[in-house]
């Protein structure tokens, strides 16, 4: 094997690890805020089903959080093992940002997690609420710092290069770099949607299993309504993020849109098969001038094509398809949640086919997040830090055989853990459904059931 193989393996390993990791914080960031909401509702109404909701979802939160922690630790090591050149070149900027994540977020969430999960009988109700709140703040803060660093890698600012090494000049400019606000908002909304669809999907699953409890019904309602509120916000945030990317990383936009030639009045390519060798799309279906219109707000606006960037452009096909997958999932979420709200409004409950749809979409957020993640991260290539450091220059010289060995171990482990996680989530739902049947959560008969009891 030659050096390039090692480079490729290191990338696959890091990509695998980061893809696996991102799934769990995506859920836990939002889920913890849902838990805070359940607790607040319990305090406000005194209704027992809010407590049941908390007690059901806190278990799923715990296992999600644990997977996020262990895969996150792996990631923090792989910065060094797989990309030593990264810290040597940009460590003066990346270092403090990572340090602040550990100091301000990790310790807080990890310490109060113990009290949140197991301390309810040892501390007062208020302290327990505070602990839950601090875990929620910690997880969100941790996302903030990591997205600050990630955004800086896309749109570096506030630094200068001395003797080939990046030095921080203006920390305000580094933290509030041009793409940071868009990325943070886009990611937090994605987390909210992932959490909302998880809650809706699992509650629907409980309903289909005959669980008519108030907890399952309220969970369903909460998930569907929150998703319906967040999805238009997400579409707006995504659009603004796209405009920001056009300004700072036009090569990424060209790959996302599948536009090879620089042109005025560029079409929106709905479908096509990008061909890197011939530098064109096969079987293209496109709407004339639309891309120029929504990207430049002028039907004859000019868009740069991929060819204009020489060899400094990302691989087109993965970015092109990942972007379409993300948008596709988003539109599906829009349809499912708005239809759900409409049905709830008019019929007071959801029909079986819609519940089945929600169950199928339980992890739809994951698909959207991964697709979005690949769009933005592969779209950054060949840069690791835009305009400063390429991925190839940051790679380590670890023996390819060692990377191949550990990569296979990680992949086996991740596959097993993923299967275990998903089956445990559904297993907990079935357990709760049986408890619900047995009448632990007395169904409230004054309201029409959201879930048909006969299903």
């Amino acid at each position: 094997m030659n050096e390039l193989d090692g480079f490729l393996l290191a990338r696959i390993q890091f990509a695998a690890n980061i893809s696996f990791h991102i799934l769990f914080p995506t859920i836990s960031i939002a889920l913890c805020w849902f838990l805070v909401f359940f607790k607040l509702r319990e305090r406000a109404t005194g209704a027992p089903h809010w407590r049941e909701l908390y007690q059901f979802w806190v278990k799923i939160f715990a296992v999600t959080f644990a997977l996020g922690v262990v895969s996150g630790i792996t990631m923090s090591f792989q910065f060094g093992t797989n990309w030593p050149g990264f810290m040597e070149k940009v460590g003066n900027v990346a270092g403090p940002l990572l340090a602040y994540e550990v100091l301000t977020a990790f310790f807080m969430e990890a310490t109060f997690l113990g009290i949140m999960l197991f301390g309810a009988q040892r501390v007062g109700e208020r302290v327990h609420l505070l602990a839950t709140l601090l875990v929620a703040v910690g997880t969100s803060l941790s996302a903030f710092w990591i997205l600050v660093l990630n955004s800086w890698m896309h749109t570096p600012a506030g630094h200068e290069i001395r003797d080939g090494v990046v030095h921080a000049v203006d920390w305000f400019a580094i933290v509030f770099n041009p793409s940071m606000p868009y990325r943070v908002v886009h990611m937090l909304l994605a987390s909210g949607l992932t959490g909302a669809f998880l809650i809706a999907g699992i509650s629907a699953y409980r309903g289909l299993r005959g669980d008519g409890s108030q907890a399952a019904q309220t969970g369903l309602k909460t998930g569907v309504i929150v998703a319906a509120i967040l999805i238009p916000l997400q579409i707006l945030a995504g659009d603004l993020h796209g405009l920001n990317t056009l300004e700072h990383q036009p090569a990424k936009i060209a790959a996302m849109e599948g536009i090879w030639e620089t042109q005025q009045g560029a079409p929106a390519v709905l479908f096509g098969l990008p061909d890197a060798k011939q530098q064109r799309n096969h079987y293209e279906i496109a709407i004339p001038k639309l891309a120029s219109f929504y990207l430049t707000h002028d039907i004859n606006g000019e868009l740069k094509g991929i060819k204009a960037f020489g060899d400094k452009h990302p691989p087109v096909a993965p970015v092109f398809f990942a972007f379409r997958a993300m948008v596709g999932v988003g539109l599906l979420m829009l349809a499912a949640s708005w239809l759900g709200c409409w049905l709830l409004w008019h019929r007071g409950r959801l029909p079986v086919w819609h519940l089945r749809g929600l169950v199928a979409m339980t992890f739809a957020g994951w698909v959207g997040v991964l697709a979005g993640w690949y769009t933005t991260e592969i779209g950054r290539q060949p840069w690791l830090v835009h305009g400063i450091l390429t991925a190839a220059d940051a790679a380590s010289s670890v023996a390819p055989a060692h990377i191949a060995l550990t990569l296979s171990l990680y992949l086996i482990l991740y596959a097993v853990l993923m299967a275990a996680y998903i089956s445990v989530v559904f297993f907990l739902a079935r357990k709760a459904a049986y408890a619900g049947e047995a009448g632990i959560g007395e169904p409230d008969t004054t309201e029409p059931a959201l879930i048909p009891r006969s299903a």
Partner: protein, 340 residues
């Protein structure tokens, strides 16, 4: 090996690397002691008498393990952040044991949560996973320590040394774990923990002794540092105090349960770890990569270190404060874990 140059300590470029070396060492020591006891409990899990005992053992570490592990992220994070050059060298040289340790930590971290949530028939499997993960993590950490101390040397003796540290550290973790269980449990399980501690204390003492004798043998510089006058007199308290603490542990375990003294074996073990750490730090100073790179050669830019230093000064006391609060909340004997 020439004595390394220590620059002017009155400039930020002089004292900041020193401060970060200290902070990193402190984070690592906190990690070894804190995650050490919960890894130790994991290593001992297989020896428990019943499922109920295993549940109690897990309950004794349940509210703490996650925060304990965070110290590893801080320690390695500080290495990454403050000494970026050394970070690449060290983690590159330790690529395989690091990967192995991570897999161990992943296994035990998830097993902890899955064992009570998955179907009951899978629980013994997750318990075995928890045990195996803890053991793998402890052994690989000891191996890494051994490889690090010898500057990643490649003669057979270096590998024997690494294997000895792996066993020594694992025994030390088991001792910490048993000491923790003496505090957190009662009755039959506590008696079991006493027997585990008696086994582990012998192995740990052997390990500390072997490593203390071998370290100067594998490095001339370290030998010169310890065995020259007056260093030898000034350093004598480290081995003497360690020996005394071992004596205290052995004596107390024999008379257990001595009322009100349940916490002493654990505290004495922490003392031994601290002293050993001290000795090690003295041996290695001022290198971050032994015999190759000093703290000053590997340090990040002073202005970046200053940004973290200011933050750490504000935040670390808070961390210590709420950590103490969490331990206070879960004081006393371990009780069955119930969610919120």
């Amino acid at each position: 090996m020439m004595n390394p140059v220590i620059p002017d300590l009155s400039t930020p470029a002089g004292w900041l690397p020193l401060v970060f070396l200290f902070l990193m060492a402190l984070a690592m020591l906190a990690y070894v002691v804190l995650d050490g006891y919960d890894l130790g409990v994991g290593i001992l899990l297989r020896r428990a008498g019943s499922e109920a005992e295993r549940d109690t053992m897990i309950a004794a570490i349940g509210p703490f393990w996650d925060a304990n592990e965070t110290w590893l992220v801080l320690g390695v994070g500080l290495l990454l952040v403050a000494f970026p050059v050394a970070h690449g060298v060290i983690l590159g040289a330790l690529y395989l044991p690091v990967a192995l340790m991570l897999i161990g930590l992943i296994l035990r971290g998830v097993a902890f949560d899955f064992r009570v949530k998955a179907r009951a028939q899978f629980k013994p499997w997750w318990d075995r996973t928890f045990y195996a993960g803890s053991l793998i993590a402890a052994l690989s950490q000891g191996w890494m320590l051994g490889r690090f101390v010898t500057g990643f040397g490649s003669v057979p003796l270096d590998y024997v040394f690494a294997a000895a540290t792996a066993l020594g550290l694992t025994a030390g973790y088991a001792l910490l774990g048993a000491g923790w269980l003496l505090i957190k449990t009662e009755g039959e399980l506590q008696q079991r923990a006493r027997r585990w501690a008696q086994g582990a204390v012998a192995l740990t003492a052997l390990g500390v002794l072997a490593i203390s004798l071998a370290t100067p043998l594998v490095s001339e510089r370290i030998a010169a540092k310890w065995f020259s006058f007056p260093n030898i007199l000034l350093l004598a308290p480290i081995p003497l105090m360690s020996a005394a603490l071992f004596g205290v542990i052995v004596l107390l375990l024999r008379r257990f349960p001595a009322k009100g003294w349940h916490w002493v074996p654990f505290a004495a073990t922490v003392g031994i770890f601290t002293l050993a750490f001290h000795g090690l730090a003295y041996s290695l100073f001022p290198y971050v990569v032994p015999e190759r790179t000093t703290a000053w050669q590997a340090a990040a830019a002073p202005e970046s270190l200053m940004v973290i230093f200011v933050g750490a000064c504000v935040v670390l006391p808070c961390i210590i404060g709420y950590t103490a609060f969490a331990y206070w909340v879960f004081r006393g004997k371990a009780q069955a874990l119930h969610y919120g």
